[in-house]
Symmetry: C2
Subunit: 156 residues, 2 copies
Amino acid sequence: MSRLPDHLTIGELSQRSGVAPSALRFYEDVGLMSAERTGGNQRRYPRHTLRRVAFIRAAQRVGLSLDEINTALATLPSGRTPTKADWQRVSRGWTDRIDQQLRDLELLKSKLTSCIGCGCLSLRTCLLTNPDDYEGDRGVGPAWLATDENLGNIRE
Amino acid sequence: MSRLPDHLTIGELSQRSGVAPSALRFYEDVGLMSAERTGGNQRRYPRHTLRRVAFIRAAQRVGLSLDEINTALATLPSGRTPTKADWQRVSRGWTDRIDQQLRDLELLKSKLTSCIGCGCLSLRTCLLTNPDDYEGDRGVGPAWLATDENLGNIRE
DNA sequence: CGAAAACCTCAAGTAATCTTGAAATCAACC
DNA sequence: GGTTGATTTCAAGATTACTTGAGGTTTTCG
């Protein structure tokens, strides 16, 4: 229980990271991590692998694909142990990314709110679906948005 | 061009909604929408179908799966045309959902920020991956977080 | 009328991220 | 040393949301 070995089995790493063994093997397959092996060919993970798994999961939560994570990891120096500065450089991008996501969500929310206000769900005015305005050739102005007749024919 | 027919072909609906024909057919397959047919079996969409497509895409942007969207649509009255109130009820849930997403992201960001501050990426302290705290039996206190030796063994 | 563009169905493929299962081996414990 | 639980590999399957292709029909337009 409290033995604190400096190598973890895949089961232990799974327990402690909350990532299924199958996922860990998968990460290895795609080159995101590696493992030492016992004489009997079982994986043994050095302790710092926990950090690597943390990195991967955190990056995923920021919305990176495994491919992108691989790329991000590749920008870390392979010759030497990454410094705090290296790590900060990489994770800085995440903060930016989160900020962008926050902005997107805020925008979506405000659009949705005005949609609820008018109750229309018009493709033209409610740009939930099309971030860029696009052409539709209906000749009806904004007034129709509020008319009851235009509402909710969603279920036909 | 400006004929404004009250039925659209799949190509027209695709153009105006920005959704590929194949996707529209797919939505029909999974029961998200329906279409009238010509004598020659081609789809013809009543104009309000645009709104339904808008609904679907908007819901997707809020993070709903097509299954969830189907469920949401099912809560709309099938006998009558949904009212503005019906529609607002449904989309209210979206706003809540967006708010939740915003909260999650803010939390993630603040955690990430403190992680960057210490540069550690410890599974225990940076709960990016595990929202709920969990047990790890290392006996080392917070102090190690700042030591250089613990940093960035991400690339082993 | 006849050609071209658009549409039809159905099956299969794609992409990402894993999970499951089978059959066999390894490690740990008494 | 044997039993049991953990681990191994490899192939195939799961899920979501579509796209692509083949082979054939319909619509439209000149």
